[in-house]
């Protein structure tokens, strides 16, 4: 029987981090290593008429320059569409697209020489945003589409030939038109959500070492197996000859998921046959990827009792110049816009389109923040239009535990009414300062896109120490400590006896990647299974060596409890093998066939969140301050409370960023604020004085001890909760994020 004490023990990674010993990709020095600097497109959309790297190649310290022509024969890569060359070949599709890599014996020499690269562009008609992308006769960012199937996710992109649409998803349930015709009230709204930068403190950095006998890449990658697969296909290398090592990662949030700069760094090393490091600046990373912006039309039909009869949504996502995993973002946005409600008729359409801007990418709860922003603001608008309070309107329409919100999705495994009640309870009575009205509520139910394939090895050593090998990336969320705890509890050994090996595809078995709130559930269950396998082997060995009945034995710290007393692992191995040496190796594997196929239905669990905000508004400036906030999530089981609360708070505050401050802006395709100087994120001053995190535990999830995944849900409700507070207090609705002082001030002025 597994038990968790839920008490926090110091995470080994936190000690490394606060003492400065933690090693990130940028800290590594590989013998013979050279440094690459990426020359980027300064044109929005253009043919490359000429590329002159002669002066750069002749510059002091420069070893070589990698150009598009060098890698043209390797072809394109991608995760859902094979749309991306390693370096721009004949044309550039966005400002920031890599055109060349100057490789030198120092980063400074490479950077200085990069200035000497001359590019002659012939401008092409631009597709600056998603509206332009869909306009009749729009220029095409890509002339044709090459979708992949079941390559990274199950399924694939569904592009529309001859257009900029690289994925269209449509889900229809019932008859929306008939329901609207019969409805007492139909309400439509339009919302927008800007592109947002992930702003991990560690920019993208990778080192590649291409040798005769294989390729090693050190990178802050969230999906080592994805990187391994893509570079193995690009360079024609067997998977076993491609090793991806991931040291500590300074934040990812999806911005380091799938594959980013690794093919480029590998190509640089392939050219010079020496290790090459590319360490991007934060500004470079702002030109590498960002969240997909969205334009959303949403319409709801209700009857006289305020019951929702139908909902339709038309979601257009700005996917940037290359698809990355934008198709999945679009599909998830359509799923996540439903909300935790009973809606008999649905029409959900999402399109992801190419534009001449920085490529879109996964970002914490893909498609969720965009969808829930529209869905939950719209809920309050509908409630107001039919004269119900936001709480009452939601209560009348909430789906109960066990109900399906769409026939093809697993029934809800939580009680949303409970979460809503908990945040309202946590907020208590309104502060006198803000008055009773400046509060807003929002709910979210999201379907994590989990690929249920996980593996782990757990090795129980003769001295009772334990080694765990698995591929989840320690990205700041504390996953290594979580895995150590699961192994320790399952083997009944002290937490401190477990060492989790650094992530390395050379030593860890296959895992899909770190994202979609999957690690605790899928990899955690694999570690648990591996530890159980090791325990079984150890007890079998002891039963045989000690000539004991197997059922009379139990694992205890450092050894075996027998009816005759304690026997150390040393003694057992010595008796069994004749020498004082050995270990048992447990293997745990999870896949869609495991547990009688119970993991196959999507989603594996529901990631849920309720949020309630209380705000102050400076009526003279329009500035909003989040005074108090409560966030609740049903996480099944808390394994490390400090880390779990940190994930919830972190997700909320990251959401506060896109609510009040953040937008990666483009003007006619040209990035306007792609630098840490111009791009604003929340600081400690912006965090609410009063923040409640409520983690509900019913021990009913598919992970160890009934855990569900968490860490993404809390980013969802905060923006609509704050906007709903503004609406409740002043009756003004701002439809596009962020809620800057200027927009709020103008809205307040327009009202009066």
């Amino acid at each position: 029987m597994i038990r968790f004490d839920s008490l926090s023990e110091a995470r080994p990674d936190s000690i490394d981090k606060v003492t400065g010993r933690a090693v990130y990709a940028t800290d590594l020095d590989i013998p013979g290593m050279l440094h690459g600097h990426v020359v980027r497109s300064t044109a929005v959309h253009a043919r490359i008429r000429a590329l002159d790297v002669g002066a750069a190649r002749a510059a002091p310290g420069v070893v070589d320059v990698l150009c598009g022509a060098d890698v043209a024969s390797l072809g394109c890569w991608g995760l859902v569409l094979k749309d991306r060359p390693i370096l721009a070949l004949d044309k550039v599709r966005y400002v920031g697209e890599p055109i060349a890599v100057v490789i030198a014996d120092s980063a400074e020499a490479a950077e200085n020489a990069a200035e000497l690269v001359e590019v002659d562009y012939a401008a092409l008609p631009r597709v600056p945003d998603s509206k332009a992308a869909l306009a009749p006769g729009a220029a095409l960012v890509h002339e044709s589409h090459s979708p992949l199937e079941d390559f990274y996710f199950r399924g694939g992109a569904r592009p529309i030939d001859g257009t900029n649409v690289f994925h269209r998803f449509l889900s229809e349930v019932g008859d929306v038109a008939a329901a609207e015709a019969a409805a007492a009230h139909v309400h439509e709204d339009h919302f927008s959500f800007p592109p947002v930068f992930h702003y991990a403190l560690e920019p993208h950095t990778a080192i590649a070492d291409f040798r005769e006998d294989g390729l090693t890449i050190w990178s802050g990658a969230q999906s080592p197996a994805g990187v391994q697969k893509v570079v193995s296909r690009l360079f024609g290398l067997p998977l076993a000859k491609v090793r991806i090592v991931v040291p500590y990662v300074g934040g990812g949030f999806g911005g380091k998921a799938s594959v980013k700069i690794e093919p480029l760094v590998a190509a640089a090393s392939w050219k010079v046959r020496r290790p090459v490091r590319i360490a991007q600046s934060l500004s470079d990373s702002m030109l590498t990827c960002r969240r997909l912006g969205a334009r959303i039309t949403i319409r709801t039909a209700v009857d006289r009792e305020g019951l929702i009869l139908a909902k339709s949504a038309d979601i257009v996502l700005d996917g940037g110049a290359y698809a990355d995993t934008g198709s999945a973002v679009a599909t998830k946005a359509a799923n996540r816009i439903i909300g935790p409600y009973v809606i008999p008729n649905l029409r959900l359409e999402a399109r992801a389109v190419y534009t001449n801007t920085v490529p879109g990418a996964a970002f914490r709860s893909i498609g969720g923040p965009q969808a829930v922003w529209a869905a939950e603001c719209h809920m309050d608008n509908v409630a107001a239009a039919i004269g119900l309070s936001p709480v009452e309107f939601r209560l009348r329409n909430l789906a109960a535990r066990g109900q399906r919100i769409r026939p093809d999705l697993r029934p809800l495994d939580m009680d949303m009414g409970e979460l809503m009640g908990l945040v309202r309870q946590a907020m208590g009575a309104a502060s006198a300062a803000t008055g009773p009205d400046a509060r807003g509520l929002a709910l979210a139910a999201s379907d994590p896109g989990i690929v249920a394939i996980g593996n782990a090895l757990v090795r129980l050593k003769i001295d009772g120490s334990v080694l765990v090998a698995m591929a989840s990336v320690e990205i700041g969320q504390g996953v290594h400590a979580t895995m150590a705890r699961i192994a320790a509890e399952t083997l009944n050994q002290p937490f401190g006896s477990v060492t989790v090996l650094p992530t390395d595809t050379g030593t860890a078995p296959f895992d899909w990647g770190t994202g979609a709130s999957r690690s605790t559930v899928i990899v955690g269950a694999s570690v648990e299974a591996a530890a159980l396998d090791a325990a079984t082997q150890m007890l079998d060995l002891a039963a045989e060596a000690l000539a004991q009945d197997r059922t009379a034995l139990a694992l205890v710290p450092g050894g075996i409890a027998t009816p005759q007393g304690f026997r150390s692992f040393h003694e057992v191995f010595h008796l069994a093998y004749g020498v004082d040496s050995g270990e048992v190796i447990g293997r745990g594997a999870l896949n869609p066939r495991s547990r009688g196929g119970a993991l196959r239905e999507a989603p594996l669990f529901w990631e849920t969140a309720a949020g309630m905000a209380e705000i102050d508004v400076d009526e003279d400036t329009g500035a909003i301050r989040l005074r108090r906030y409560a966030s609740a999530a049903d996480v099944g089981r808390v394994i490390n409370r400090v880390s779990a609360e940190g994930q919830d708070e972190g997700a909320s505050v990251q959401g506060l960023g896109h609510t009040l401050f953040e937008a990666l802006e483009f003007e006619d395709g040209q990035p306007v604020n792609a630098s840490p100087v111009d791009y604003n994120i929340p600081t400690l001053d912006d965090v609410p004085d009063d923040f409640h995190t409520i983690l509900v535990e019913h021990h009913d999830g598919p992970g160890p001890g009934g855990a569900k995944g968490m860490g993404e849900g809390a980013i969802l409700p905060i923006a609509p909760a704050i906007a709903n507070a503004l609406f409740a207090r002043y009756g003004v609705r701002v439809n596009d994020l962020p809620l800057t002082p200027e927009k709020v001030w103008r809205a307040l002025r327009a009202r009066s």
Binding site: A43, L287, Q670, P671, S675
Partner: protein, 150 residues
């Protein structure tokens, strides 16, 4: 980046047209515009645009092509060039329209400014403010030239 201005001038369109097509004189209204040379009257010109943007100095040899002329009511010109040091390209399309009014004419100027390259990548926001200031100054100088009270 788009800019627009509109002002009423006491001169009738034909007289205003004569003033505005005196390129040497009008170009003095453009901040930083120097060394204007006529290649072909009302067709092609060259100039050097000098600007200080934040800590950067830009010097853009520009080619000016008159794309459309409809005397005395419309002229559309396109100026483009590239700063060698920062690799920044600049393109300005200027549409000047003269509409007869009860007294004199209404002069409308619409400009579309496009900046690409390192400077744009570093901070288009700064460039935008600079462009706004330049356009305001252009408006002031033009008003002064035409004797319009600001």
């Amino acid at each position: 980046m788009e800019f627009a201005m509109s002002l009423e001038v006491a001169l009738p369109p034909a007289a205003l047209w004569a003033v505005l097509t005196d390129v040497a004189q009008v170009s003095q209204c453009i901040p930083g515009c120097e060394e204007v040379e006529e290649v072909e009257r009302l067709a092609r010109y060259t100039a050097v645009v000098k600007q200080k943007i934040g800590p950067f100095r830009m010097e853009v040899p520009a080619e000016i092509v008159v794309e459309e002329v409809c005397e005395p009511s419309l002229v559309r010109t396109r100026a483009s060039g590239r700063d060698r040091i920062t690799g920044t390209t600049l393109a300005v399309t200027l549409v000047v329209t003269l509409v007869p009014a009860d007294v004199g004419s209404v002069l409308e100027v619409a400009a579309v400014v496009d900046v690409q390259g390192r400077l744009a990548t570093l901070g288009l926001a700064i460039i935008k403010r600079k462009a706004e200031r330049n356009f305001e100054e252009f408006e002031q100088r033009l008003k002064a030239l035409l004797g319009v009270m600001a």
